[in-house]
Symmetry: C2
Subunit: 183 residues, 2 copies
DNA sequence: ACGGGCATGTAAGGGGTTACATGATTCT
DNA sequence: AGAATCATGTAACCCCTTACATGCCCGT
């Protein structure tokens, strides 16, 4: 269960609420790990039950009470143990786009081309967002937390996402040409 | 549930058993869709219950009975309906490798480098396997089934997998250099 | 004799998504 | 007036993984 590890990881930076954690994930890990609040809240309760995090309830005026979670020593140990384990094996992913394409030889050529062009638009927009917003967010977080070593890793990972998108965009462009010519 | 669609798709080529379907998936869709037999068998039963496929039990000497499934007209319609729907939105994936790396700034540099070099080996091996085996399998399937249009799609998708691997390998190489220099 | 291929499944549990439920404040 | 933000959760369901269960044949 890697959502637990994600939460422990973010809480190792600073105490936070479930809502805060969701925002952190949306801004930084969204392209390689994400979760809905409806999954985050029960997972936090479970981590609390396991003694890995502790909650402090903060009453607020005009807003619901906050539950600010922080890492316990046991939680820190669990995070360190996870980081000490080797990197996971590359798991064969699931890609609904490629799957549908695999069986799409009978789809009308112009429909197929329109779909692929639409994907190109989406991916280009995503790449642009990734290039525009993420470096600024990393820089801001490094400045705020004074963790330059983490900044190196974060930028590396940003590059991985960026290059994955670029590779897919190049493939889409080539695929459109090939289908136009050969299908 | 896209496993259903995968099964319907393969059964549109020829009637097959669950065991056969698993082999087909292992040889062709493994990098973007896969399933264990323990998931395939119940799903086939469910598709049969929904009237989308029909089973013919074939007794065998010295082996367990086969259940050869084939598409019903309703199953063909369901497959066509799925193919008529637009391509799925790019879902933000989950990547345990990048996730762990994201929190790995505190891991010893030489440990990190060893882990990344190990990943490089794994990925290079996977790329080599992809380049060696898949084209032959596609050619054989096209020759056996006389479906050149499908062959075009299959080769396109093979290229997507190949280029995704290549992009990741290039990134790993660059990441090793960066970590060595800056962490 | 042992491992791999053929061939089918069941059971339990983990992880994740979607829908539902509440309610005040602030921005447009 | 309506949408977004803050803030928390529950319940149902779906999909998938892991472990278990069976048993014969063939090649080494």
């Amino acid at each position: 269960m890697s959502l637990s590890h994600t939460l422990l990881g973010f809480l190792s930076y600073a105490p936070m609420t479930g809502y805060d954690l969701k925002k952190q994930m949306d801004r930084s890990t969204q392209f390689f790990w994400h979760a809905a609040l409806s999954q985050i809240y029960p997972t936090l309760q479970q981590l609390e039950g396991d003694g890995l995090i502790a909650a402090a309830t903060v009453p607020q005026a005009g807003k619901p009470d906050k539950k600010v979670y922080s890492l316990t020593p046991a939680g820190r140990a669990a995070l360190d143990a996870w980081l000490a384990e080797p990197l996971p094996d590359p798991a064969p992913g699931k890609d609904g786009l490629l799957l549908k394409l695999f069986f799409s030889a009978s789809v009308e050529k112009k429909t197929l081309l329109a779909r692929l062009r639409h994907q190109l638009d989406l991916r280009r927009a995503r790449l642009a967002a990734c290039e525009r917003e993420t470096p600024a967010h990393i820089a801001a977080t490094v400045a705020a937390t004074g963790r330059p070593r983490d900044g190196v890793m974060w930028d590396l990972i940003r590059q991985a996402g960026e290059e994955r998108e670029r590779a897919f965009i190049r493939w889409l462009e080539a695929a459109i040409v090939t289908i136009d010519a050969r299908l």
